[in-house]
Amino acid sequence: MDTSNPAVFVNAELLRLYMGRRVRAVIQVMRSDGGGAVTGQSTDGQQITVKGNPPGPLTTFVEVIGIADGIHSIRAEIWSNFGDTLDTFSYNRICLLANGDYKHLFI
């Protein structure tokens, strides 16, 4: 069992706190240019860019796990399609709780 490389739940606001660290975020895909970058809206309504090539077609909501390499960008390692409907409010709440009072349960 290994807890050495956790991926922190972040939204755009929290992303800046974890520069260079492994993070996970759910984005609503807005546009994806073929050049290896996808722009999306994070669960708190702000835009972030995800660098990397998705392995296949993307659904409306995508979770990316990767390294935070800019205050508004993530270099993705793993892409997971989260479908076309998702409650971003709950996910955003998780981001706040996992970085707040209940941080010890997550990282």
Binding site: T3, G83, L86, S90, Y91, D101, L105, F106
Partner: protein, 269 residues
Amino acid sequence: MFGSSQLDSFSGGGFISSQGADPSRTSAKSRDSPPLLPLTIKQISQAIQSTDEKSNFVIDGVDVNNVRLVGMAYKKSERVTDVAFAIDDGTGRIECIRWVNDAVDSKEVEEVSDGMYVRVHGHLKGFQGKIQLVVFAIRPITDYNEVATHFLECIYVHHCYRKPQSGHSVSTPSQTDVPAAVSASSSGHNSNQFSGNLSIDGLKGIEKSVIDYLEQPSSLAQEKGIHRNEIAQQLKVPLEKIMDAVASLESEGLVYSTIDECHYKSTSA
């Protein structure tokens, strides 16, 4: 049976075991070991192995029997009688084993592939210093709201078991520290969820003052208890209000009458 974890009742969402979903039971009495706990792998890594022969693990002060995890499966390797894989839920990774005994089992694991989000139910087992999960049921996730919901349940259950046991605990503690946006709606949510099961939080001001007064060492020291007139005098509250408060506290099991109907003592003595 194993695969279902529907949240039928609001008393702890089915995870906090209480005898017969009786809403007036206090949190102090509902700490029997729960049948199923939603956990993060980080929580499991912090578990203490209990020293009795059952070799159970203890998390947040409760014996852990079965656990539920939601995460990404990977490193799946099918062997003859079992399938081994690892689950990564973002907080850590844990090795899992799913014993395959019949066609139903093998069909279940066939649906799982690497990189897929799954929900597993299983039992924790220590093996050569590591903790592994013996999986009873594994299901791919189709609605990804389950991911957020699972973590919310982990937080909720953890919060319930960490609440202080004392008879006069403060009201739901999360409100002071959590940022305003979170606490504004979570306070409403909390009072709905908690008022049925953990009734101490629903104590009104007067009841709280009465129980506080009765729990002072000077009050506890008196065998006969305290006369309600004295409580009324000390707290400067009208007697009818004291009587209401005492009746309510009595039904909660927090105070009892001693030599006659007018004298009361706290049950936590």
